[in-house]
Subunit: 225 residues, 4 copies
Amino acid sequence: MSDRPTAPDPDRLKDWEQRTEVPLFAAALVFLTGYTVRVLAPAGAQPWRDIALALVAATWLLFAVDYGVRLRLSGQGRHFVRAHRLDTVVLLLPLLRPLRVVKLYTAVQQRREQPRMSLYARVMTYAGITTVLLGFSAALAVYQQERGAPGSTIRTFGDAVWWACATLTTVGYGDAVPVTPGGRVVAAGLMACGLALLGAVTGSFSSWLLQVFTREDEKRPPESV
Amino acid sequence: MSDRPTAPDPDRLKDWEQRTEVPLFAAALVFLTGYTVRVLAPAGAQPWRDIALALVAATWLLFAVDYGVRLRLSGQGRHFVRAHRLDTVVLLLPLLRPLRVVKLYTAVQQRREQPRMSLYARVMTYAGITTVLLGFSAALAVYQQERGAPGSTIRTFGDAVWWACATLTTVGYGDAVPVTPGGRVVAAGLMACGLALLGAVTGSFSSWLLQVFTREDEKRPPESV
Amino acid sequence: MSDRPTAPDPDRLKDWEQRTEVPLFAAALVFLTGYTVRVLAPAGAQPWRDIALALVAATWLLFAVDYGVRLRLSGQGRHFVRAHRLDTVVLLLPLLRPLRVVKLYTAVQQRREQPRMSLYARVMTYAGITTVLLGFSAALAVYQQERGAPGSTIRTFGDAVWWACATLTTVGYGDAVPVTPGGRVVAAGLMACGLALLGAVTGSFSSWLLQVFTREDEKRPPESV
Amino acid sequence: MSDRPTAPDPDRLKDWEQRTEVPLFAAALVFLTGYTVRVLAPAGAQPWRDIALALVAATWLLFAVDYGVRLRLSGQGRHFVRAHRLDTVVLLLPLLRPLRVVKLYTAVQQRREQPRMSLYARVMTYAGITTVLLGFSAALAVYQQERGAPGSTIRTFGDAVWWACATLTTVGYGDAVPVTPGGRVVAAGLMACGLALLGAVTGSFSSWLLQVFTREDEKRPPESV
């Protein structure tokens, strides 16, 4: 907190971030929808494809503007880029944008003053939401790369979703596999994330299970120590 | 406990659940047997297939009646559905019903006043029973979807069981793979469960192993610290 | 300790077990060697194959005699079979016999009064030895089942070892896959063990790594808390 | 510390190791570059290939000399070989040499007096660097073995990198698989490392995630216990 140049107006930055939270999330959904339509619309539906492209471009511009404003408000320059590395990556790969849903979900839950889920339930919920969004985005991106490629085994969007399932769980049947360089780069990214998510789900589920059994043990009188 | 509408008669609900435990488990076994016969009986054995279908329908009706009675007795309406999400899923996918064996197994063990297994042994036992039942059910369901499909690589029930083994362990050879949309949906469900089970088995086995070695260390005098 | 029928002569059982430890391990090695020769010897080397078969039969008889003597000495009957479930499995599947090397290794190390390895090092060493032995035995058994099967992809012993590596690590390329029922049963067993070993290695390696880093942290004065 | 023959001049050994740290790392990079050029240079660029071979040989000689000097300075003989098992392996498989980057990275960070990364961040950083270097080295070695082999599915260096990704994450599609004995040995090594890294990344990521959530819980007043 003290070893970085003090921001000129941290309150205005916080204010901006709170105000733009919901609109930006809506924009992220529009972006995802636009990209989905762009990729999945049949070749004949040209007007739809054009509208989708326009939406994607417009929302991306929005994200860029938001990033610029926050960079300004923070007054940190290079430090901001380093401290918000994830935001920078998301700007360059806006398909990851809807992952902000996790942040919004937390915010909404805090406002509603709902009884909090247990630690493990939250980790599993967030990891689950992240997996579904990542898998869907990767399936879209891979499908876009692969559908026209010669020798491709991913010919329908259903194949791409099936491929994403098999990859995220590290099962990897190999019946649907990207063959283009672009598709393989997306796949490598998904694999790395799949590993990390595997770690989170694995860790929290087994910790939770052990906790459940430990608690059960404590309830019963220890007649058989 | 206090932030939900109080049930009108929690004792009657508990009573009902205790009384129906064994009959419902028997019904679940009948359901699984009926479904197994329905799927595996040769096309010629029409009467057997009809009996099996009747059994499946009758037991499913039983489950629905039980769910309705419990919903009534709880007097919680929508809250009951949310609090018993797993029961609701099991009602819609009755093939998962025999998973209740775990509950029964615990109950039986408690009645017998047997010396309790260690924490890790129980987690591993339950995860093991769940794996075998899940794998068998998934193999049945996938076999039903795939056996007639063109280009299918799962042609016998043995292939389906082999596929289930390779999927649950996330090995995923890819020599037997579902190709129909229905089969792939079942497979995606099995993969997700495979991951979760992997977490439970992995976590408890390695915890147990570390415990064993730690205990061994404590027994020996620390001559080589 | 107190809730089982007391053995008539526990000292004689212990004595027997200590005396037979080394000879039985030697017999297990002879068994493994015999089985290896039986499987890998070229079809022309009939005398060698016959000697190998005789060795396998003789050592198996030895194991059966040992099991019988221990069952007698314990005087527990059915309880002995239940308490030594692993021994019973090993009697029926003598290929798992050399796994006793782990027990012997511990015994030898204790006699030599060597400075003990750390907890994690021991878990990893034992899991490693077990993996290598299991993988080798499974490769032998699968090779025996598969080599003559039509459409088999495991045609040399090298293929079988390669298949065992890919299976134990759950990579599962699918280029070498058992196609016979016998081979698939062996493979399913190896997969289950692969999962368990994955858990042990994964758990102990990551625990060890975290310990190393934690210790390093404690050494350095906390100048940057 | 006390149960080994005392080194004649431990200070000189330490001094040597500190002085040679940076030059040896530079040599390791030269080695890796040389090997990369040797493997990837087109067949026509003979002079480049010859220069690369010379570089590889020269740097390997450097490593051998360093090992010899350290063996001398330590004055421990056989004990040195056993205590520095990893160094001995690295001498025989110099492709693993650049893994020393991890050591150097720590040293550099200590000199700069930078605020230390958290425990989990460091484990993940080191495991990440190790993975990338191991994967790249294995891809190079497998490509060298496989490119000319009949029936090979790894025909370009891109294929080799793709294969390394799928192997390290244990996904294992099986579309690119080594078929030569040499390539399979490299692959088996990479698989074992992939498992260990999976353990480290899995363990530290999930521990970190749980820590983050636990800390968050502690910050909020416990209104809903």
